[in-house]
Symmetry: C2
Subunit: 243 residues, 2 copies
DNA sequence: CTAACATTTTTCCAACTGGTCAAAATTCTT
DNA sequence: AAGAATTTTGACCAGTTGGAAAAATGTTAG
């Protein structure tokens, strides 16, 4: 008996459509894409917010429409009126996420100096971990599962951006302004260290305890990471300690 | 309508027991804990292996007994004969995991010198990410969910170990052998950077592409992390480049 | 060999799941 | 205010899921 790979039973081909929701092909009708009512916009936002709450904790398979509907404060059929299927909600969430998620890296400017640029990149990522932990976990959840629903975005958009920024880093290294090292792993290490504070929040809090695990932990983290990325752990002369 | 916190519907109080599996209280019977047959040991191992495969990808809620049974090559009722409920399998997996998971940190020796010790700690963690990625993801999955099933272990065993090792690091700092910095965040950064290669493996591969995303990526990571933790990103004189 | 025990299979079930549908209620437009 | 369009509800369904019970089939010590 061969181990047999996990079957990916998730999407048995959607059979019908609910009503409109997106363009219908085949007819000469000029695709009357109605502009979304106020209620539609509001409710969709409420649903996406609720879905973020649920998906970010339990992942796609582990979350149910009922759970999302309950958090959103509406009935399941009502929710399904706005998003005809579960996948749709998740897809929307993920594509919106990726844009905001990569924004900090986009801002890293080749024309700036490496240390201010890297330093503020780290700060921005850390702020995102602090202010949008659910988004971070949603992303992490998807990664853990092998990114089945966003793999192309990763392979195209994200890869291109990283390639571009790796070139920027290499440029700085050529100018002697930055230690010569692997730019890709450099970026990975910034992602890892900052997102850790969102994704492993429970662990961080548990280890730091109530005294140091409060909001101050992000400031401590920022200070520590700044030092790590600047000088590493090698001890240096204390500038303000002549004695 | 209050947002209403996610209900934790996971364990409606187990009603009955299957047959033995653990001690029965109340009777004067001397708790005949049978010593586990050969088949029992073998099958349990097969099940745990299969469960690791499944849980590490989909998390607890997202995984089904059927999936695990299929991977394990047995029927669901048969599987339930060995582990009377899903939670049991997960619990076993987690408690075994935590021991091996913390082993590398345990080995960090106060009597050694900081750089060799930290360096080999990083190496060991990186090897674990390479050789036991499923375990890493299982752990990450549990963390993302708020560690509901292992929070006490985190708050006690893990915290104690980290506290102890933080003292070791502080000692080294006092001796001037290690840059003075936050020992807790130092440990976090090692966890984050190393586990990243297991938990975000898809992303790492996608970004590095087929050329650099092969097995060599772990060696590249090791080299990069070594430099990062030793010297950071500040450029230094090239030792072997006098020109 | 066979009774006692261990293992496996078959059948079954109630709750949960993603999703449909028609009717009722509400909101918007004129 | 009325008609049209939108939104919400309630009833329902087929497939899945965790698990129980019991019968059928091995295995093994005496």
């Amino acid at each position: 008996m061969p181990p047999s790979k996990l079957k990916s039973n998730e999407a048995p081909v959607p059979p019908r459509r609910q009503q409109d929701a997106d363009a219908k092909a085949g007819s000469g009708v000029p695709v009357k894409a109605r502009p979304l009512t106020r209620i539609q916009r509001e409710k969709q936002d409420i649903i996406l917010e609720a879905a973020l709450e649920v998906f970010s904790v339990h992942g796609f398979r582990g979350s149910t429409i009922d759970q999302i509907a309950e958090v959103a404060g509406m009935s399941k059929p009502n929710l399904l009126y706005y998003f005809p299927r579960k996948e749709e909600i998740h897809r929307r969430l993920m594509s919106e996420l990726l844009v905001t998620w990569l924004a900090p890296l986009r801002e890293m400017d080749a024309k700036g100096d490496p240390f201010p640029e890297i330093r503020s990149y780290i700060r921005r990522k850390l702020e995102m971990a602090r202010d949008f932990p659910r988004e971070s976990r949603l992303f992490a959840n998807e990664m853990l599962q092998g990114a089945p629903r966003i793999i192309e975005m990763i392979e195209v958009d994200l890869k291109n951006l990283v390639d571009e920024k790796a070139q920027v880093l290499l440029g700085w290294m050529d100018e002697g302004k930055l230690a010569r090292t692997d730019p890709y792993h450099l970026i990975f290490s910034i992602w890892a260290t900052t997102q850790h504070y969102a994704d492993f929040d429970v662990q961080v809090r548990a280890v730091l305890g109530p005294a140091r695990g409060g909001e101050g932990r992000f400031e401590d983290a920022a200070r520590y990471l700044e030092q790590l990325f600047l000088f590493g752990l090698t001890p240096r002369k204390q500038p303000g300690k002549p004695a």
